[in-house]
């Protein structure tokens, strides 16, 4: 019998972290940090979690502590949001380049300016190219389960994993969550095996200056240059696709819950119009799809769970042959267009009969998005597509004249 509790997304993440029992947790406690870091501090204070909790002076330092602790072979955790994540930016690259299996929760919030503490996905989207795996959750059950899966993935491919979930919509909203048993989690997640930990018996310098060319080390062994190391990172994150699928499959065998690996879909098989989204907005789109189906519109949903690595093969299989694709996204690439709709189009490049793709920028800075608004946007985009418009961008519920 599952131990089901009503909890917020932050509580679900904290309980997930407690179950994997990191050796070191580092966090900066001030806004935009969330209750998640506070709960973990309480666990440590109350003695129910034996982690070393390092309260640092900035998000840049919290990730630095995690990188350093991971380098000596510790399992680590940190969490942040919005501008805190932006402040970590440099260390995100260092973590990925150092191939440390750090796991971090990003509670998605809008970024300043102007100041916002409310939800969108601009924060993690803007860290897309740092070499991290990014997984997006649709509900609180998926948060606790994805935190556990994230360690399994990170510690197999030695690439850091960011578990992203929507601020307030999930982080502060209570839902029933089944808590996995501790022994089951230990069975699913073996202890971390560091590749080459920093220990006194094997003194090494990590990440000295690397030159463009290969070099012979003091023993005369030919070593990689900078570009070779970067190719290894690129291959590792590409190969992580299968690791993510497998981590989810085996999670299902242990806990009877799976999330589709890299993507999930809803009523998409016989859909002519597919709504594509990520995180809680994709959950909301399923409600809109039910409303559209009642009106006789054959709609479905495809959602990205893994944004990096990008699920190109899955998207081609799920979106090929549709009559229209409408992307709903909470992030922007300023000067180009919607955050990931451009990548959806790229994924479909070269397929026969590529469907028209319209995209809707929605919910920036926490602006409310209702299922009926999503359904209306789909109807209006369908009208434009019928009129021959192949690509269009809309800003939902937003008009500045």
């Amino acid at each position: 019998m599952d131990n089901v509790k009503i909890m917020t997304g932050n509580e679900a993440a904290a309980v997930g972290v407690k179950l994997v029992a990191p050796h070191v947790i580092a966090a900066y406690p001030i806004t935009p940090q969330t209750k998640l870091a506070e709960m973990l501090a309480e666990y440590v204070e109350n003695g129910v979690l034996a982690s070393e909790y390092v309260r640092v002076e900035s998000e840049h330092s919290s990730l630095t502590v995690c990188i350093a602790a991971s380098a000596v072979g510790a399992r680590v955790f940190t969490a942040t949001s919005s501008n805190g994540l932006l402040y970590m930016h440099e260390q995100l690259h260092w973590a990925a380049g150092s191939r440390v299996p750090v796991v971090m929760c990003c509670v998605n919030r809008g970024v300043g300016a102007p100041w916002s503490i409310f939800n969108d996905q601009q924060d993690s989207f803007s860290q897309r190219d740092t070499g991290w795996i990014q997984l997006y959750c649709r509900n609180n059950q998926e948060i606790i389960d994805t935190v556990i899966q994230a360690y399994r993935i990170a510690e197999q491919v030695y690439v850091p994993v960011m578990v992203c979930y929507d601020g307030f919509i999930l982080s502060h909203t209570k839902m029933p969550v089944a808590i996995p048993a501790e022994e089951e989690v230990s069975r699913y997640l073996p202890p971390l095996t560091p590749v080459r930990p920093l220990v006194p018996e094997d003194p090494i310098t990590i990440n000295p200056v690397f030159f463009p060319w290969r070099r012979d080390n003091a023993e005369g062994v030919s070593c990689d240059g900078y570009m070779d190391m970067r190719l290894k990172l690129a291959k590792a994150i590409n190969d992580a696709r299968e690791t993510i699928r497998e981590a989810d499959r085996e999670f299902g065998e242990c806990f009877n819950r799976t999330y589709g690996g890299l993507v999930w879909d809803y009523r998409n098989d016989d859909a002519a119009i597919t709504l594509v989204s990520m995180g809680s907005l994709a959950s909301e789109a399923t409600v809109a799809v039910d409303m559209l189906r009642e009106k006789g519109v054959p709609a479905g949903v495809v959602a990205l769970r893994s944004y990096r690595p990008f699920p190109k093969d899955e998207l081609r299989a799920l979106l090929g042959g549709k009559s229209a694709i409408i992307v709903f996204e909470k992030c922007m690439s300023y000067g180009n267009g919607g955050g990931f709709s451009s990548e959806i189009k790229t994924a479909l490049y070269g397929m026969p009969d590529v469907p028209p793709c319209h995209n809707v920028i929605a919910g920036l800075g926490g602006r409310n998005v209702t299922p009926s608004e999503i359904a209306d946007a789909v109807m209006s985009a369908r009208g434009a597509i019928d009129d021959g418009h192949f690509e269009e961008t809309y800003w939902l519920g937003c008009d500045t004249d």
Partner: protein
């Protein structure tokens, strides 16, 4: 498949791990062993050059030696030497 242990940038503490850094140098330290305290006394004394050298390439020996394969020519040893026994000289003479 065996795990690749070279996933991130690693070097070990050994001479030459960063390459032949001596060729970065444009000025070379030259020791006047008649002024150098440990060289004259032939016992462990002073060695401030050894202490301050950021490259760790000054030998605690009699006379004191500098490994020019790795000396970058920063001049800290000359700056710190109490009897001014070390002079920095141009690698290339002024007239070419």
């Amino acid at each position: 498949m065996t795990q690749d242990t070279n996933l991130f940038g690693i070097c070990t503490p050994a001479p030459g791990e960063a390459g032949n850094t001596g060729d970065w140098r444009d000025r070379r330290p030259v020791i006047d062993h008649t002024k150098c305290i440990p060289s004259v006394k032939e016992k462990e004394a002073c060695f401030l050059c050894w202490l301050y050298c950021p490259e760790g390439i000054i030998g605690m020996s009699f006379p004191v030696t500098i490994d020019l394969d790795y000396c970058k020519g920063c001049g800290i040893c000359a700056e710190e030497c109490p009897p001014n026994a070390i002079t920095m000289v141009n690698e290339v003479s002024d007239n070419g």
